[in-house]
Assembly symmetry: D2
Homo-oligomer: 342 residues x 4
């Protein structure tokens, strides 16, 4: 049993972490912090946790996080970078579910996130927590940059193709659709029910913060610079991301086999039979990513469909997966929920 703390547990990644960790065999939840809700029982805010999580939110100052083995940051961007150095020095390992350590190029990060970085050194040390790419490094890491939700779905769908060098990486297109929980739990008009229900729109087409993150990952995989058009959309789901990926073929291979081999040993990537249409609900509440590939009309454009639950494989579940790797637990511990359908 390790002692785990959570900083900032009042958002959706926070409550999802709690849902998963409450059932994890190797974890003892030590503290969960919230400045504004200190004193409130967690289960009063999230009644699904009644009888399952007895903690109350505590003020960060009283949380004794340095006594934990591991601290998750489920905070807005820019918080973890302020505290990570002290925690690492105290021997605590850290998984940041926000974006503070995802982009290696600090100047690039500062441009997209509009603030100065507080710990470039930590950025350099951090391991990007996509187990399908960095499993071994994650096992050794003290600090994990947990990937964003879109980047997880998009990278897993493109990786086999760009690693194998079989598509034109100068003109990749990622058309991605996200459920509304991806926008967080902060009260904002555009994500009100009466705004987002029965409505569909693109957003951030000119430039979304996940673009440089995806581009970094694909560039590393391709060994060359990639050209990516990334268009996110808001769709009236609570949970779920569906990425529809387009790439022009430059080299003929057995694409189905390529994907199956690439992910053969991955517990959380399911390559479906050719021509399948994965549904977001087929992974709802689970850490699974399901992928299917198509070559419409036998043409030169490959279409990859990739679905995840943005709060699990796209956030809290992947963080638990990273924790399992870091601490040598069974890789699937606490992550064996059967997806919820219907």
């Amino acid at each position: 049993m390790i002692k785990v703390g959570i900083v900032g547990g009042t958002g959706y990644t926070g409550v999802e972490l709690l849902r998963l960790l409450a059932q994890h065999p190797n974890v003892k939840l030590q503290a969960i912090t919230s400045r504004s809700d200190a004193g409130t029982p967690v289960a009063a805010m999230f009644p699904n946790l009644r009888g399952r999580v007895d903690l109350s939110f505590v003020d960060p100052k009283e949380a004794a996080l340095d006594q934990c083995d591991l601290v998750f940051f489920a905070t807005p961007n820019g918080v973890a970078m302020q505290q990570v150095d002290a925690l690492l020095q105290a021997g605590v390992r850290v998984i940041d579910l926000a974006a503070d350590f995802r982009i290696k190029d600090v100047a690039e990060w500062e441009k997209w996130y509009g603030m100065q970085h507080a710990s470039p050194k930590a950025v350099a040390e951090a391991v990007y927590g996509l187990p399908e790419v960095n499993r071994d490094k994650i096992r050794q890491a003290r600090l994990i940059a947990n990937p964003g939700c879109y980047p997880t779905a998009v990278q897993l769908g493109f990786l086999p193709l760009v690693e194998a060098g079989v598509v034109d990486v100068s003109g990749l297109v990622a058309d991605a659709k996200s459920g509304v929980s991806g926008a967080g739990r902060k009260a904002e008009t555009h994500i009100l029910f009466a705004e987002a229900a029965d409505n569909f729109k693109a957003y951030g087409v000119s430039g979304h913060r996940h673009l440089p993150e995806i581009r970094q990952g694909l560039t590393n995989a391709a060994g060359q610079s990639v050209g990516l058009t990334f268009v996110p959309h808001l769709t009236p789901l609570i949970r779920g991301i569906h990425a529809t990926l387009y790439a022009r073929i430059t080299k003929e291979v057995d694409f189905q086999a390529l994907f199956e081999q690439r992910f053969a040993n991955e517990p959380f990537v399911d390559v479906m039979p050719a021509k399948s249409h994965p549904e977001t609900r087929s992974v709802r509440a689970s850490n699974m990513c399901r992928i299917a590939i198509h070559r419409p009309q036998g043409g030169d454009t490959l279409v990859v469909l990739s679905v995840i639950d943005n709060l699990v494989k796209g956030a809290a579940g992947q963080a638990v997966h990273n924790m399992n790797l870091m601490f040598g637990f069974d890789e699937c511990a606490g992550l064996s929920q059967v997806p919820l359908l219907p």
Copy 2:
């Protein structure tokens, strides 16, 4: 490990049983039948079960159900009553998730269900599987009539009051709202997305089949005939029932204490603090029933709010609970999922 068969697994109670049983520590799924889909892998129809359930649907004739320890019927009304006698004779225990054995008065049953009953003897033997009322009888039972979804939510909310004789049982009102999965997975126009989304309506106000079932249970609890107005509504949820119950007070007691004491030892009934407003999502995907009581404006009318997931506590979860009792397993085995929120 007991050997379990499922008859008719292509509906929502079927897939929900599979979700729960796939994670149950004491169960080996032996066979799942479907006449029309024999040969189809279960996971092809329900992709959430990919990698979790390896069975294919088999024709009922080839299922060797008489080799099972327990058979669940997740079939339309009128099927289980045809097969139950043979199975019981073969030493197989049976849990029917449909309505065949719920109403003790066979004539009444035949009136509401519009068919002749094939096994009145089995009706007489069957135990009504509401553990909060019949726990001990369930432990001994060979045949369980698993309660309907509305009847579960409504009875649990009224029981403490009618058992204690503190309300006027001649004029109970149950205003109940159900998610659309309660109507099943058969293709019918009125439950199409474009019909049921962004829409709310009552139905069956003149008389719904769950009315006699609820009335029977409350009459037993009250020790006298009850007058009940039951109005079901269809609401654009996938899962969930919210019952709003009204009763006029005839005797002053501490109603909050009454409910807390009545359910003190029940693992799947959560009496919330007075004046709470339980949400359906607080029990989504779990076997919990949450209840809160109100006395608006200090008047003479008590309002009880009772929520369940219609597919779990209202169907498959309660069936697993009954199985656990029948076979002496840990009462909560396979039923410890944390509700999914958001």
Copy 3:
């Protein structure tokens, strides 16, 4: 053509007023105010109005509202009462879509709304704008208190019964369900999509501000004090209210005929055939209220189902109806939209 101003047009009742008034043959929109959004074109905030409404929001101070023939207040509670005296003195007529003038008992109003009333004189003058009750007074009025959404649906459903004295008015029950737009467009956590979608809950069971408003209307109609239990619920609709009303019969009459006669000449109340189940979508985007009555199992409890679009008959449409009456326009002018289904 009359000159019309709108105070506070950035909420849902505001945009709905604009939708209706943009198509009204007798109205010239003069000004629409918003302190925070002054300068913003209305169509930039509400793109459905592109090409239809050319106004920009203006600061209240520059709106010259005293030049209008009529001003609608689509503001939070407590705003109209500050400005109404000056407008009336300037010869401007006023329709308040908020609650400032709905409750005749000022002390009662102050208790429920938690503020001191700024103009008890205006309360005394105001006419409660439910045309089915006060048509003639509305025609002469300078100041209209436009009814709340729940009160409209509930009163129309109960009125024939309490006016005729055929039910027990000491124990009326109104179980009402509202779409989320009824909670307004202000950013609040509990009405986020990821909170309110696929979820159902009661709220305000201990006491909702619409309770005294409904009680006042029914007491007037009954000629005696009424006992009412009113339970509102939040349901995942954008628009729509469904009120399910329960009353115990004290005198036998032909209830269907009673309703048909009561509303025979009402253009915006549709009494459906007995045993119908009106759907909220059957009135979506229209000013219609549809009502159906049931007497389940021939018992002593009558069930009335009443549906409206909370933003139209429950707010902006009823306000336009009141305007039509006040200015002698065709009563249905601008209100002839066919409901949107699906």
Copy 4:
């Protein structure tokens, strides 16, 4: 006033035609046919039409369609082609909302639609009813092939680019998302509420029937063969299509100006300011198409966003628009509804 008949009015395009025609100043609804529902009042099936449409469905044989000036076919594919010759000979004009006359290459049509065409001659005569392309021909036409919903949204978004020859037409990508009403009102499992709500998926990636229709239109506009990858998705909306279109630039022009000029005189195409994100609800219940263009990161890929209401501009509204042109009515007659938001 022209006399209008509708064949097959029990689906969503049928009820939507009725909603629009019930408010059209130049139309008298003569007959609406349905074999299975003959005798049923239209308003009993579609209660939004209560008090607005007094017709009952009649058997096709008794409809005297040859007495009409215009007949709409709102039928499944393959019906209109059986009846069109007789109607045209009788001097009746015809608008087919299904696909029978959309594809000029009859062999291609037969391949995609899996049946033999009954009237190739009619195909040759038919005018493709996209007013933004064929306005003058529509004015003279006896027979209109009303465009599909996806083809309307996709073609309008690509047309300015392919007509101007400024993008690479060999690699166009159309990623389109449709509300569930696009799948019709026939009872099918995959479009049940409990299947389609809170779920997102692609479908028909290998080949959708709208692909050849879009390709035909774009090929005509380009004057050369086009390569198009078209991926439709089902999204939990009732109404709405959002097409996200990708094209690589081959010639620099002012793209915003190109679109604005192309559609300058179009009453039903709204080119929004550059970098806008049109929402489907901004056109809900209206005949408008809103388009916005983006050039993310200043790269070589152009992104066009195009939204319509699939039942209006994508079906019934466009049909009414075509009728207006054919009969010399005001082009916007009956089509001036303000979109419904929220």
